[in-house]
């Protein structure tokens, strides 16, 4: 599946990646190869199969009750690259524009 320059630029923008101009053609070619490889999956006959689920099929819903899996804030923040005053610190983001 051929990928062109414009598509690489668009994907880079969506993924917040900076791809140097000289690397765009090469990236496009590599992405095409990867897609071609993945496309081999379409040779499988999946018509009679439902979508893959890892979910436990029994008891699919939970009652509206609290459980004891909550983490202490310091545990929750332990693996964060940066934290302060109980908050995760992240690169600046515009407020309230999430989907």
């Amino acid at each position: 599946m051929p990928i062109d320059r414009a598509e690489v630029e668009r994907i880079a923008e969506l993924a917040r990646l900076e791809i140097p101009p000289e690397a765009i053609e090469r990236t496009a070619a590599q992405l095409s190869e990867v897609l071609d490889f993945v496309a081999s999956l379409s040779r499988l006959e999946l018509d009679r199969l439902g979508p893959t689920q890892f979910a436990p099929v029994e008891a699919p819903l939970r009652e509206d009750e609290l459980d004891s899996r909550r983490l202490a804030p310091e545990t929750a923040l332990a693996a964060a690259p940066e934290a302060e005053g109980g908050f995760f610190l992240v690169p600046p983001i515009v407020e309230n524009v999430s989907p």
């Binding site: 099929v57 819903l61 009652e63 524009v97 999430s98």
Partner: protein, 485 residues
């Protein structure tokens, strides 16, 4: 050229469940940052979500109230996006097969009954909360709190059915009333329990094809929605009138400064790459659940308003006000079953609602002090004209502050209603002697003059005479005078 605006709304309703959408963390507001988080809502590897039955049930009830079709099998989906307010880098929502489809919300706009069609209502999870970027050493950072991440939300999408901001305002007011009525959400926009994004485009009036639309986010009050939309409609109109073209964009509304800011394209660039959520099974809602949810559905506000109009003969305005809140409607009915329906409506709409507003009380707080029975006792005396109006209002005022029935309150405050002919007759005679003109008019057939004379006697009694007795005595004396003529 005249243009016509076409507006569609996307509303988010935060549900008032105890726990989050997919885990057992508290869904409460105002906890210490990052204290209501667990491996599931933090998106830690290996953690599996499980949907909250109460949240699904709330979605079903809202869907039923709106006349939507409820899918027996609906599917959760991953909405992928690059935003640090969701630790998983995706939001679990519904996409291709949402829980509720279609339906409409009945809304009164400027006294007219309208109905606004919906595309869908589905269940999803809220995102975390990020705070204004701030300086941190030599760079800027945002703080993120994930307590809200995973709190149950319903997303409701309308068709592009609105033509004016005022319709959107009325729609949101009606939606807020409905979610509170059903008890599924606080519905407070200032608290983010109800949020709204709007899509708006302009087209030449009367033409069919839609123009290029823009999306306004950050609309966090009903007034803000109307002002933000009015500003954007005006902006688009100016661009089009100058021969320009509208560019598709996402705008943020700044309610404090009342201005719209265009988001840089990079910030609004998205491609959500939805796919079915592999960690959750198909959501099955069987007939038994539906039937049971339908049984639990209360009489809906618009049905109740119509019934108030037909059963109690209330004007549509009264019926609308009294059905703004379910507990107010309940309180009203408890009164209207015992005493004149319009009198009860008048007292609730003016006196009771004024006290609520002045004191910032909820109806429950009011009802605790003045249960319907207590108000009914007072209103019965007003209806029977045993109490003069101003005195009744005074008793009402005491009622708010003190315990006791109407008679008890009058005694405690040393007020005695003059209700015997013996004590009132001298006042009546004095008034007749002092007002020969009106008396002549009455005897000449102008019976409306009686009201004036009643008022004079009331004044003379210091507002403490029972109007009904005064009226009877006046009639008696005047008829006596007529015969004596």
């Amino acid at each position: 050229m005249a243009y016509e605006a076409v507006i569609g709304l996307e509303c988010h309703i935060q549900l008032g469940t105890r726990s989050k959408m997919f885990c057992g963390c508290p869904a409460e507001f105002g906890a210490e940052p990052n204290s209501n988080v667990c491996p599931v809502c933090l998106g830690l590897p290996g953690a599996l979500p499980r949907a909250n039955r109460a949240a699904i049930d709330a979605a079903i009830r809202l869907g039923l109230a709106l006349g939507s079709e409820i899918r027996g099998e609906s599917v959760f989906a991953r909405k992928n996006y690059f935003y640090p307010d969701m630790p998983k880098n995706y939001q679990i929502t519904q996409y291709e097969r949402p829980l509720c489809e279609g339906g409409a919300l009945p809304v009164t706009v400027d006294g007219e009954e309208r109905s606004f069609a919906l595309v869908r209502v589905h269940a999803e999870e809220d995102t975390g909360k990020s705070f204004h970027p701030e300086r941190h050493g030599d760079r800027r950072v945002s703080r993120v709190d994930f307590n809200r991440a995973g709190v149950p939300l319903l997303e409701l999408v309308t068709r592009p059915v609105f033509r004016a901001p005022v319709e959107c305002g009325a729609f949101l007011t009606a939606l807020r009333r409905l979610v509170r009525w059903l008890g599924i959400s606080g519905g407070d926009m200032e608290k983010g329990q109800l949020r709204c994004d709007a899509n708006v485009s302009l087209r030449p009036a009367g033409s069919e094809p839609l123009g290029t639309k823009t999306e306004i986010k950050n609309l966090n009050s009903i007034g803000g929605v109307m002002k933000g939309l009015a500003a954007e409609i005006e902006r688009q109109r100016r661009v089009l009138e100058q021969g320009g073209a509208i560019e598709q964009a996402t705008l943020l509304y700044d309610a404090d400064r009342e201005v719209l800011a265009v988001m840089r394209s990079k910030e609004s660039a998205h491609d959500y790459r939805y796919f079915p959520e592999p960690d959750l099974p198909v959501l099955v809602v069987d007939e038994a659940w539906l039937a049971e949810a339908r049984r639990r559905l209360p009489e809906l506000p618009w049905t109740r308003a119509a019934r108030f109009a037909s059963e109690y003969g209330l004007p549509p305005y009264d019926a609308g006000v009294l059905t703004e809140q379910r507990d107010l409607a309940d309180y009203y009915e408890a009164c209207a079953r015992e005493v004149d329906e319009k009198l009860a409506s008048n007292w609730l709409m003016t006196e009771v609602l004024r006290v609520l507003k002045d004191r910032g009380w909820t109806l429950a707080e009011w009802s605790e002090r003045v249960p319907p029975g207590r108000l009914v006792e007072l209103l019965k005396k007003v209806a029977a004209k045993e109490l003069p109006g101003p005195l009744a209002k005074q008793v009402f005022g005491w009622m708010v502050e003190e315990p006791g029935g109407t008679g008890e309150l009058l005694d405690r405050h040393g007020v005695r209603v003059q209700a015997t002919p013996e004590e009132l007759r001298p006042l009546v005679r004095a008034v007749l002697a002092e007002n020969p003109g009106p008396v002549r008019q009455y005897l000449g057939g102008k019976s409306a003059t009686l009201g004036f004379l009643v008022g004079q006697v009331m004044k003379k009694s210091g507002g403490q005479a029972a109007p009904q007795v005064v009226q009877e005595l006046l009639r008696e004396e005047l008829e006596g005078a007529r015969r004596g003529c």
